[in-house]
């Protein structure tokens, strides 16, 4: 900032040395300059005109401030034309222009801070104004002799006198200002910023300041600082502060204007300029914010949607400053107390992080490099952001659990998980980026984590590679809008498609993560999804999507601080449980922006969506021949009509959710069938199987009755189970047959797999058909099917979902299947096809 006017260093006011001198100059000049010179200048503000009038009236000693005719518009900063007097005086300087400037500075001490700079700038620029009016005297005088002067608003607005003077002066000023307003609107000048920056161009600051003055005075709030006189450029004006010839916009002006506009918008009814709409103010604010904080337009627009204005500025300010360095004690090797002691001995200034963390320390400053101390090398602590500790706390891993960390680099959260588990259990730390994996390896070894396996997969492959985890942590790759302080490039290089691309990837990863959790885990079944972004598209939207697509629900994260996630945002509406998610911001919590959501999976089955499965049916068709070879003989016995009906339905069903069916194969089918089978008699089994079939290939079983039910309600298998039981019972005999018949028609291999279970008891052929059906389901998801098939090493009935579709002829006894299915399910999940 330029030289600030220091109230304590005010120069002597009143008729003093300068005053005398200036007075002399003024009177001298007044003699020479044409009286109407000031008036002729169309640039004269109302005040200037008044002063000129006064002057002409012959107040020789009157400390009227005259605006030099050609005086450049004073920086509009000073309200009430204070600048103008300055400018005038500056311009009119005959004697010490500098002196005047300095005195101006002094005068302006009570005024706006930028005033001095502007004044000086002006002074420089309009150094040779003809008008030799020495405003200094006026200014000084105005303070001393308020009675004399009506004008000299600037002086009048000096600290203590301001209010009184303002009141007096406002009335005449108001009138003049209104006139000015009209004039200015025409002129379309820019606001003070241009004034200072581009004096040559703008001259209507004074004019603009007029209206602003009005606002201020009308609002009853006499602000000593520059009022936001010309907050908005007159209609039709373009952005001037970025004109190249002006050079860089004056950031001070911009900053001040930002504050002013925010103030106006806060109390829009009273503080607005007449004729200006809210959107104009907002647009101006947007441009100013973008200029001042160097943001791209897209991101700034998003942020303006996200935050109320007051918070917005705080948020932007917080992003300019790095967050404090925090570290996490590695409890595998040391205790926080000991570590703090050791670090303090080395010369590090630190404190415990907060009540919510037992292992965190925040470093204020350090005389040694905090990332190179012997304690660091010995793995006693890890440098980690405070917000990165939260997802692991939310996840709450228990000992002897199996945890998957899908995007683990650089390994901070993984190591935290390991230390919470005390090196028991297993952690699978995965990341898709090979370079960053090296840091994971290094960190985990350094911190003494022994129960980790580090792998290099794309997270979306996960349930296929290995699934059945007790807990999963997904720290999804995101746009990074919460960590702008770490990476300022995000301000400008993110746009709409980046966000959407991230969101798409996050949705895929989240679905894969959900599928990798084992809902029936004794101690777990939880998933934590977190991002370091604050965008709704990447957070609430993704979570909401997962809630619709999978059998999960949101549970409280266990973090008692942080802002709740949105349940609605602009045109979107989210599930109400999104209130249990948590958002963290840099400006409110002093940690990186973050979003955390904790899911609990309550069923391993995948609900089928309404989209048909017909698309998937076709790929499975080729598989049919293999299965059909065995099945056809049996299926042929079935009624062709049902077959056809089933086929149609199957196709429809298949369209619904390929993923779902595949998932069913992996988990759902086996699980579903397991649960059903184990608990029910053969009938139930049949029902279950038919239900499964329905879920996977809804209409396949041709359960004519059931089809309609299935079609629309695949999502909720359990309710369907209830309803379908009866239907299934009815069709107990029928479905198997229909299944057989359907099989050749529809490529629902998986279904066949499912059906065998109940069918085995009913019909020997049912096994194959069931297997086939299941295989159909498998086939629907080519890749998943492959995985499935591999996993199904054993051709058990219930395991058929996992069994390769090729091995269709499996006549596992129903009973055996039941128990085996349960048991086999687990190993099936855990065993990985090599």
């Amino acid at each position: 900032m330029g030289r600030k006017l220091d109230p304590t260093k005010k120069e002597k006011r009143g008729p003093g040395r300068k005053a005398r001198k200036q007075k002399g100059a003024e009177t001298e000049l007044a003699k020479f300059l044409p009286a109407g010179g000031d008036e002729n200048s169309k640039r004269l503000s109302s005040r200037a005109r008044k002063r000129a009038a006064k002057r002409r009236l012959g107040s020789a000693e009157a400390p009227e401030t005259n605006k030099s005719p050609g005086a450049k518009p004073l920086p509009g900063k000073l309200p009430k034309g204070f600048c103008k007097p300055f400018g005038v005086s500056a311009g009119a300087v005959q004697t010490p222009g500098k002196k005047e400037a300095s005195s101006l500075f002094n005068m302006a001490r009570g005024k706006k801070r930028p005033a001095p700079t502007h004044s000086s700038a002006e002074e420089e620029e309009e150094d040779s104004e003809g008008d030799g009016v020495v405003n200094q005297e006026d200014l000084w005088g105005s303070e001393d002799s308020d009675a004399d002067m009506i004008d000299d608003y600037g002086a009048g607005s000096n600290s203590e006198d301001e209010d009184e003077d303002d009141d007096e002066e406002l009335l005449p000023i108001e009138r003049a200002a209104r006139k000015q307003k009209a004039q200015e609107a025409v002129a379309g000048d820019q606001w003070s910023e241009e004034e200072t920056d581009e004096e040559e161009e703008e001259e209507q600051v004074s004019a603009e300041s007029g209206p602003r003055e009005d606002e201020e005075s009308e609002g009853g709030l006499q602000i000593n600082v520059d009022e936001e006189e010309p907050l908005l450029p007159p209609a039709g004006e373009v952005e001037q502060d970025i004109l190249p010839e002006q050079g860089a916009p004056d950031l001070q002006c911009v900053h001040k204007r930002i504050q002013d506009i925010v103030g106006v918008l806060r109390d829009f009814g009273t503080q607005r300029e007449e004729g200006r709409s809210r959107s104009e103010y907002l647009q101006r604010l947007r441009k100013d914010l973008a200029t001042y904080y160097s943001y791209g337009d897209f991101l700034l627009g998003k942020l303006m949607d996200l935050f109320p204005l007051s918070e917005l500025v705080e948020f932007l300010e917080a992003n300019e400053v790095p967050r404090p360095i925090t570290l996490r004690t590695n409890t595998l090797k040391t205790r926080r107390r000991d570590l703090a002691q050791a670090l303090i001995n080395r010369g590090v200034n630190l404190d415990p992080l907060g009540k919510w963390s037992k292992t965190g320390l925040v470093v204020y400053d350090s005389s040694v490099p905090i990332g190179a101390t012997p304690e660091y090398l010995a793995g006693h602590y890890m440098l980690q952001g405070a917000s990165s500790m939260l997802p692991v706390m939310a996840l709450a891993p228990q000992e002897h659990e199996r945890i998957l960390d899908m995007c683990c680099a650089p390994g901070g959260k993984t190591s935290y998980i390991a230390q919470l588990m005390k090196n028991t259990g297993v952690i699978l730390a995965n990341d898709a980026n090979a370079e960053r994996l090296k840091s994971v390896v290094g960190n985990l070894h350094r911190l003494g984590v022994t129960n980790a396996i580090i792998s290099h997969y794309d997270g979306r492959q996960f349930p296929k590679v290995v699934g059945g985890f007790d807990r999963v942590l997904l720290d999804a790759p995101c746009s990074g809008t919460g960590v702008i302080s770490k990476d300022p490039a995000v301000k400008t290089n993110k746009d709409e498609k980046d966000i959407l691309r991230c969101a798409h990837l996050q949705k895929e990863l989240l679905l894969s993560a959900i599928d990798s959790v084992n809902a029936s885990s004794k101690t777990g079944g939880y998933l934590v999804y977190c991002t370091c972004s604050i965008m709704v598209e990447e957070n609430e939207w993704v979570v909401d999507y997962a809630l619709k697509k999978r059998n999960v629900r949101l549970v409280p994260t266990g973090l008692d601080f942080g802002q709740e996630g949105f349940t609605r945002f602009r045109e979107r509406r989210f599930h109400p449980t999104l209130r249990s998610t948590r958002r963290f911001y840099p400006h409110t919590h002093n940690m990186d922006g973050f979003f955390i959501a904790k899911f609990k999976k309550f069923s391993n089955s995948i609900p089928q969506s309404q989209t048909g499965n017909s698309a998937t049916s076709t790929p499975t068709n080729p598989d049919l021949p293999n299965v059909n070879g065995q099945v056809t003989p049996k299926s042929e016995s079935g009624s062709p009509s049902t077959k056809k009906a089933g086929q149609a339905k199957q196709r429809l069903q298949k369209q619904q959710h390929p993923k779902k069916s595949s998932f069913q194969k992996q988990n759902g089918i086996s699980k579903g069938t397991d649960t059903e089978l184990s608990t029910v008699s053969a009938v139930t089994k049949a029902q279950a199987s038919s239900k499964l079939q329905d879920s996977s290939q809804p209409p396949e079983t041709a359960a004519v009755v059931r089809e309609p039910k299935e079609a629309g309600k695949l999502k909720q298998q359990s309710p369907k189970l209830q309803s379908s039981r009866k239907a299934a019972f009815r069709k107990q005999r029928a479905p198997p047959k229909t299944m057989d018949t359907d099989l050749p028609a529809a490529p629902s291999l998986s279904k066949t797999q499912a059906t065998p279970k109940p069918e085995d008891r009913d019909q020997p052929f049912g096994n194959t058909t069931g297997a086939e059906k299941v295989k159909h389901q498998v086939a629907e998801q080519p890749f998943k099917k492959a995985a499935f098939q591999k996993r199904d090493g054993t051709p058990k009935g219930l395991k058929t979902p996992t069994v390769s579709s090729r091995s269709s002829s499996r006549p596992p006894p129903a009973k055996r299947r039941k128990s085996q299915s349960r048991g086999s399910l687990q190993p099936a999940l855990t065993s990985v096809d090599g």
Partner: protein, 164 residues
């Protein structure tokens, strides 16, 4: 990932035995389960069997690391011990060397240690003996080989082994 061959096992155990002697058996039979060594891309990993089971599911080219890396085999099939093995060697070390606090920092950052920097040393440490270096606070710093005969005022070439 595969188990070590006989030859590799022999070489590795020889190396480790230099530091911990006969205590090697304790590494394998631990009270909390059986641990074993596995070779993956020329690196030897020390893992418990539980982890091994899960790691078997991961394809070889995607597996990066598991458990603790003890060291690696060079192209000429010599075994290099890594610092990550320190946690397991330190408790069983037969010969120990303590260095003074002043020398500790310098040693950690890769410099040599003079004899004057030695605080304590186990008796009967012969030349070229594998020792584990400790700080005065009994924090193990590194395993390494004593380079030469200890003479008064002579520089001991104690290099700090870096790993990973």
């Amino acid at each position: 990932m595969r188990p070590l061959t006989e030859e590799e096992t022999r070489v590795m155990f020889e190396k480790i035995a230099k530091y911990i002697g006969e205590n090697l058996q304790l590494l394998v039979d631990r009270p909390d389960g059986t641990y074993c060594f596995r070779l993956h891309k020329d690196r030897v990993y020390y893992v418990s069997e539980k982890i091994l089971k899960l790691a078997a599911n991961i394809s070889g080219d995607k597996l990066v690391s598991l458990g603790t890396c003890f060291g690696k085999f060079t192209k000429t099939h010599k075994f290099r011990l890594h610092i990550t093995a320190l946690d397991y060697l330190a408790p069983y070390a037969k010969y120990k060397v303590w260095i003074k606090p002043g020398a500790e920092q310098s040693f950690l950052y890769g410099n040599h240690v003079l004899k004057s920097g030695l605080g304590r040393i186990t008796e009967n440490t012969s030349q070229y003996q594998g020792v584990v270096v400790y700080s005065m606070a009994d924090v193990p710093l590194s395993p390494l080989n004593l380079p030469r005969h200890i003479k008064e005022g002579e520089k001991l070439l104690l290099h700090h082994q870096e790993a990973n």
